[in-house]
């Protein structure tokens, strides 16, 4: 078999996949590209507003200060918006993972009438640019009293996440051997029982990723909340942050401090879910 491929191709591929050094070089190069703008954000957050846009740019602040962070975490409405963001993001993560798991499971495991049509419709709905839905959503929300409510945001954020997570979890469930579930079914488990006892534990890495995606979409969404919930008491963090980006000037110090604060929950979440993903992996190794 090997002789069929040109030898140089094989050696290139061998070099490519085998050499640990090359892997690390590539990873660190990408890490560098990823981090440059972030390091700038981090260093700016420790600068005063005047120093933030001074030339020549300094990567290490001349007079490092924590004032920006102090300002952001002591503004009552910004703290309140952080709290709102947590409620909305956690709420929509829980709901979307639950709902998409059910949906994804139905598509992965059942044969039913209209399955392909439904799947295409969900995919089709995902193609709608959310922007054109802003005005009808606003009108609808004002009629059912969901304007400026966190529940309203939790529900609308689902349209950004559900189609994506249904497809993700459908793909994930499909990789779990059917025989395991069939065995449990024969043992007298209901479909939901199978889902809970066999499928869910085996799908933890998938759920972990679905949750990260859901959290991130809710945490970062800006266009929907700024129109649908912009009252001071229902404002989310991304909208509140925009206060530092005004027509006349951008307050880089406060803005970057805010960005870094906004990063913390996602980083914590990622670290937690890393563990979850690895645990899922070891579980996966048990399946034959």
């Amino acid at each position: 078999m090997k002789q069929n491929l040109p030898s140089s191709f094989v050696s290139v591929s061998k070099w490519f996949f085998a050499e640990k050094q090359v892997i690390y070089i590539l990873l660190f190069t990408y890490l560098f590209i990823t981090l440059v703008p972030l390091v700038w954000v981090l260093s700016t957050s420790f600068k005063s507003n005047e120093e933030a846009i001074s030339l020549p740019p300094q990567f290490i602040p001349a007079n490092p200060t924590l004032d920006n962070y102090l300002f952001v975490v002591t503004e009552p409405h910004i703290v309140h918006s952080l709290f709102n963001s947590f409620i909305v993001s956690i709420g929509s993560t829980v709901i979307s993972v639950a709902i998409s798991a059910l949906g994804g499971y139905a598509f992965a495991r059942f044969q039913f009438k209209g399955k392909n049509i439904l799947l295409s419709v969900i995919l089709g709905l995902f193609m709608i640019p959310v922007l054109i839905n802003i005005i009808p959503l606003y009108i609808m929300f004002s009629q059912i009293g969901l304007l400026n409510s966190l529940l309203g945001l939790i529900l609308t954020f689902q349209i950004l996440i559900i189609p994506l997570n249904i497809f993700l979890l459908k793909s994930y469930f499909e990789t779990i051997p059917r025989e395991l579930e069939e065995a449990a079914l024969i043992d007298g488990c209901s479909s939901l029982g199978v889902l809970r006892r066999i499928t869910i534990p085996l799908s933890m890495p998938g759920f972990a990723i679905a949750a990260v995606l859901a959290f991130r979409f809710s945490w970062n969404e800006f266009i929907l909340p700024i129109v649908l919930a912009n009252r001071p008491d229902s404002m989310v963090f991304q909208v509140a942050l925009y206060e530092f980006v005004s027509l006349y000037s951008i307050e880089w110090g406060y803005l970057t401090a805010g960005i870094n604060i906004a990063l913390i929950p996602i980083l914590v979440l990622m670290l937690i879910f890393q563990k979850q993903m690895v645990r899922g992996l070891t579980l996966g190794a048990i399946r034959h």
């Binding site: 990823t34 709905l125 054109i132 993700l168 906004a262």
Partner: protein, 291 residues
Amino acid sequence: MLILKSFEPYLFLLPSIIILFAFLFIPLIWNIYISLHDVSILTIIKDWDFIGFENFDNIFSDPNFYNSLKVTLVFVCGSVLLQFGIGLLIAILLNQQIRASGLFRTLFIIPWTVSTVITGFSFKFLFDDSFGIINYGIEKLGLESIGWFSDPNLAIWIVIVANTWYGTPFTILFLSAGLLSINPTLYEAATIDGATKFRRFFYITLPLLKSFILTNLILVTVWTINFFDLQLIMTNGGPLSSTTTLSLYMYKQAFEFGYFSEGAAVGILLIIMNIAIAFVYLKLFDVRNKK
């Protein structure tokens, strides 16, 4: 019990369908309705005249529309190719037994957790023609500074770079999930059979990853086509409309100029475009499957 069984999949799907129907489908119907009527900032709270396909006619006779199609092509091809290429490569590298892969993955995901607004402003600042750090570095090296945002051929690439920086982590995350779902025992068997890493990649990894790759490509393409915030913040479509994609064109029609009907019509064209592209992807992947 048996009757319940046959309804089960529908019950499973009910919550998703209710939410999608209420918040995506009904607004879509509203958009289709207004795209056939004369709804603008001047008429939105008055009577809407039925005007058939006149809004679509207006769009098709607007040279800016055709320009935005061209820009969309460059923006989407550039962004998707870069995001997918880099994303797949990094996901595979992370899946090799390397140290601290969790830490790498966490760091790599950060750009995607920063909102588009912030990404846009940061890159705008980094690449600023006069005060940007990039041009400052170039001048330090003794070279002529570059007008990143004033050159119509260059500006779109800066937006693509920003979009790639921002979007690639999703592909890494998504394809990593796919790679983790592959049963390691398959590799072990192949290794015993003497297959090289290269062959294992093409004969085991890729086929098993197929559904993830397909979903990933569709998602990234659709997002990129519908994406407009980055262009809006970084260039507002300029210079010379060289970064006005169809989605930004839609935003401007609807919210800047107040032509809601035209905006809705462009939105519908975008949906059709998205569906057509998804269809092409599905066909492409089907063909490979049959071989």
